[in-house]
Amino acid sequence: MAAADLNSIRATIEGRLATELANSPAIPVVFHNMAYEPTPNSSWVQCLTTFGANEYLGQGLTTDSQNRIVGLVVMNIFSAKGVGPGANLVIGKRIRDLYNRVIVSGVYFDAPSGPEALASPSPEGYFQTQVRVTFEFIEEL
C-alpha cells in the first residue's frame, strides 16, 4: 500500500467532469488556477476541488493503517442572465448525475447538494448555481 496520491484523486474527479462536458452540447469548464475569459451570455462551469479534514481510521502508524481523506468539489454553473434557470439546471443535472453516490477509482462521492441558485453571482453578468459534492478516499498505508 502507499500514501494517497492527491493529484491522482483530483484528476479522477476533474477528468470525469471534463469528459462529460466535452460531450454534446459541450460546455467550457475551468478548474483551480486556470485563467478563463467567459463569452458573454454563454454557459460555462467552474470546478473547484479541495481537500479538507482527514482522520485516523485504523491503528498502526505508517504501516498496515488507514486514514480517511475527506474533500469537497464545488461546481459553479454559469448561464445567460435574464432567461430563466432552465438551461442552467439542465447542466446541473448532467453534473449531479456524474457524481451521485458513485465510487470511482476508490473515491466515494456522497449525494450532491444543489444546484443552488446564488443571489450574487461571481463574476457578475450571469445566472449562477452551485453543486457541491463531498467525497472520501480511504488511504491505506
Binding site: L57, G58, Q59, G60, D64, S65, Q66, R68, D110, I138
Partner: protein, 140 residues
Amino acid sequence: MAVLRGEQGAVQFDAAGSSNATIVGTRSWSLSTTKETLDVSKHGDTFRSFVGSMISGSGTVELVYDPDATGQAGFLEDVLTTADTADATFELFTTGTTSGTDSVSFAGIITDMEITSTVGEIDIVTCNFITSGTITGNLE
C-alpha cells in the same frame, strides 16, 4: 516518559494459536482484567482482610471492515468456531508490534461479533472476547 496515542496500537491474533499476525484495519481495542477476592477476615478482626483469587479478562476489538484486509476474516469468523477450545491467541499492543513488548497476550474466545452497515458511514465490526488461562502483561 512518553504518553501513547491509540494509533500506535495494534492487535495480533491467530485462530490456531501458533503464529500471531497483525489484523489490518483495527480501529480500537480494550481489555478489562478482573481479580476476584476472598474474604479472609477472622473472628475478632475489626477490619476486613482479603486475598487475591482468580483472574480473568474480557474486552473488545473494533475493526474497520475490509474483507480483503489481512487477518480480518479469520478474526471475526472465529466466533463461529464450534466446541471452541480457546486455542486462539491474542496479543494487544499499546505501541508497535514486537511480541512481548508493550502488550498483553493471552488465549481466548471470541464470544460475540457484530457488524454494522449504515448509509454514509464505514462498515464497522465489533468483536468481544474473554480470556482463557494465563494473561501475560508486558506493559511495563
